[in-house]
Symmetry: D2
Subunit: 246 residues, 4 copies
């Protein structure tokens, strides 16, 4: 049994992590801590892996403290800059593992990867992301990342611009990211969804990732806990794709 | 058996009409004429209904000539202005039938109609149209028509603006038609497709019409021929929705 | 303001109704009662419309009691047999309104209705329903209802059997309901989804209804409360389609 | 310029190959032969690569003859058994290249590959294939192959049976191929389409490949011609995935 402690255990995401750990047959919950709790209660004696899911303003200090406790850490909090990552690397011992992921949804990470693999083989590619209407930024960071990956793959394969005879357009063709058209839909009832369309003469390939709610991150979090616990990933690892056999 | 003559029989669309009439168990092909042929060869003695599928520059004269021949006409050629329609009405006899449709794809006509019916019941609605990349205009006329219909239905139902918290957007949110966001995708391999998304808390309704190739118009053309032949639609009728039991 | 009382207020669905009523700008929550509470506390003085969302074994008695209190009732509990409905009709006064719906998801009700309207115009039609894997029955009652509606519409329009050259099949073609093939998918992560496919030569029409979670019923419940409160629907009304302008 | 000869040049597929070669900027059409023509007219002097697209009863003899002419061959004809493949291997020289593919649609080959990669990371997976109603077998060979690949990937990753609480089912759950449910839809207007659904708590991944018509095979055929012409694939190669950078 992997002993898992959760930091941010009462938060939106952390409370789901507590549930997911309790439901996982190969894990047991060690400590469930939240703001104000003493993180030094977490030690190698009671914890194999810590999951940290708090807020950007608190996460760096939490992670530095946990490194000092000599435990391995899986971080789900966002807002990691190169400078913050450097601070983490600076204090880690060689055999310690820290894992940080901007997106724990396995379907989204796979769709993003598959898009890069497929891109060289199609004349056309466009990205449509769909989210709830309370989202303030458009398009999503994930969609931008996917479009950039498609563009890089096309360039590496020597492909030129996509065919597009459009002469009149009042904005319907969307935003162009590195030559890839990106469309953002905002619809009540949706959560976070991405569709990538690829086309050749007579054929289409569609990749679609749906994140229906916060529990969609849990399979990715549990996967990360299991991978980190093996000890095979010493150092700082960023991105869930590192834990998928791609 | 309905005796059907085709004007524009060697053209892109007309040749498909000839095939469709030959394949229909309740129709027989009368005359198949093309540019240069004498349309006065078409008479009530040999023809019940004429299908005219030529080019906008020729269609008005063709239709006026056919009206003079006292036969009923189904017109698939585009480019009909109010002025042209008035000229047609001016020369028709009371019992004659002329039918003109901007779109003969039944799936597209139904999706457009269903969108207007559904619109009052959802907080959010957006339109995505997808076409081959040789299309010069974006968005499609059909998508604009659908968006206008949604907007009119919402207004009639007393609905206000849709929820949208977007603050940063580099064009990804698409074109706004009467308050409805419209997105246009251009992809090699596609022909003409439209998707309408409706959303409420926890639910989504999607209407999608796919026109894979020119044969998609034939069921609509045959339907129009059968309806006109009944004699129940005297005068000028515009729009395939008039022949659907909606 | 419409004064709404909720019976079953602590239940899975009832608790969402309480939230939805509190969030609706044109409603205010009157009484929120649950098992063990005295329903005679609900009177025309404090309540315009009651929403009853409990369990099949309790619902009939609850509704009979509420009718005795001379208030209008919207019932979301399932399990209504013709015999139970007859008992309700037997005790109602002429001016009272009771509304019962087997499905409050507007998207599902609309898709079901649109399927019946579209059916006469297509050679082929099939139904795919997709649900979470904990569902014990397959296909869903909604999918059977949709298939029956398609079959009835085709029959009324004089359509015969759909084209199908299949000679070898180990079960992949699904269940045949009144001549319509119905497919059931069970997938972790999904809730309740239905897709209806219609096809003609060269074209396809797809209707899709997604119910992502229980909140998907709330727009339908609120719509029913508003309709019942108008007093324009005296007597017993069954089915949300009666409240949609179809 | 790659000099390409076509065998079966007047056939359904071969005529598209002739068009595709003529349209490719890096290829020129050498000889276009059909049934009755002498294949020994094809020599290394006039041809770099031959594309053979005929019928199963003729293909083996054609390929053996072309091998005798010392030219490289890309074969699109189906019906290759292990015995036939052995005969081809038996007569080839070490430096010659023969390529045979059961499916030249890049989108289908990629979807099949992505399905195997994604399978270990999801609790649930099902396959839906959709074809025109004149198809005699169900499900398609491609769908069976995809289901087998998913099953093999799940087994290799140590996954057990998928969750499924279904108790009553009149066939709607489809055909089970190595533990994977496969559904076959037959719809007028469609050609050949496959959808693979993967699900975890709160998330879904959908892979969809659409082949709208025969031209969908041409990008795959041209890719194969280019790869074979490099001389980097001596011997017999089976399957387009060998030429994709996966």
């Amino acid at each position: 049994m992997i002993k898992v402690s959760v930091v941010g255990a009462k938060g939106r995401m952390g409370s789901h992590v507590v549930e997911a750990v309790n439901a996982a047959p190969d894990m047991e919950l060690a400590l469930a801590l939240d703001a104000g709790d003493d993180l030094t209660a977490i030690t190698p004696a009671n914890t194999d892996v810590v999951v940290e899911f708090t807020v950007p303003s608190a996460s760096l200090n939490n992670v530095l403290t946990l490194i000092g406790q000599s435990v391995d850490v899986v971080v789900g909090t966002t807002g990691w800059t190169p400078d913050k990552l450097a601070q983490v690397r600076g204090v880690m011992s060689a055999q310690q593992s820290v894992f940080i992921a901007p997106n724990f949804a396995i379907s989204a990470v796979l769709a993003d990867y598959f898009a890069r693999v497929a891109a060289p083989y199609f004349e056309s590619a466009e990205v449509i992301e769909m989210h709830h209407p309370d989202k303030v930024d458009a398009p999503s960071g994930t969609a931008i990342h996917t479009a950039q990956g498609i563009a890089a793959s096309r360039k590496a394969a020597g492909l030129g611009a996509m065919p597009d005879a459009t002469q009149t357009d009042g904005g319907s063709r969307g935003q162009v990211v590195d030559g890839v058209h990106v469309h953002a839909v905002r619809l009540r009832g949706l959560n976070a969804h991405e569709e990538v369309l690829f086309g050749n003469a007579g054929e289409q390939l569609v990749l679609r990732a749906d994140s229906f709610d916060r529990t969609s991150f849990m399979p990715g979090v549990l996967l990360a806990v299991r991978k980190v616990e093996t000890g095979e990933y010493p150092g700082l690892t960023v991105g869930l794709d590192n834990f998928l056999d791609l």
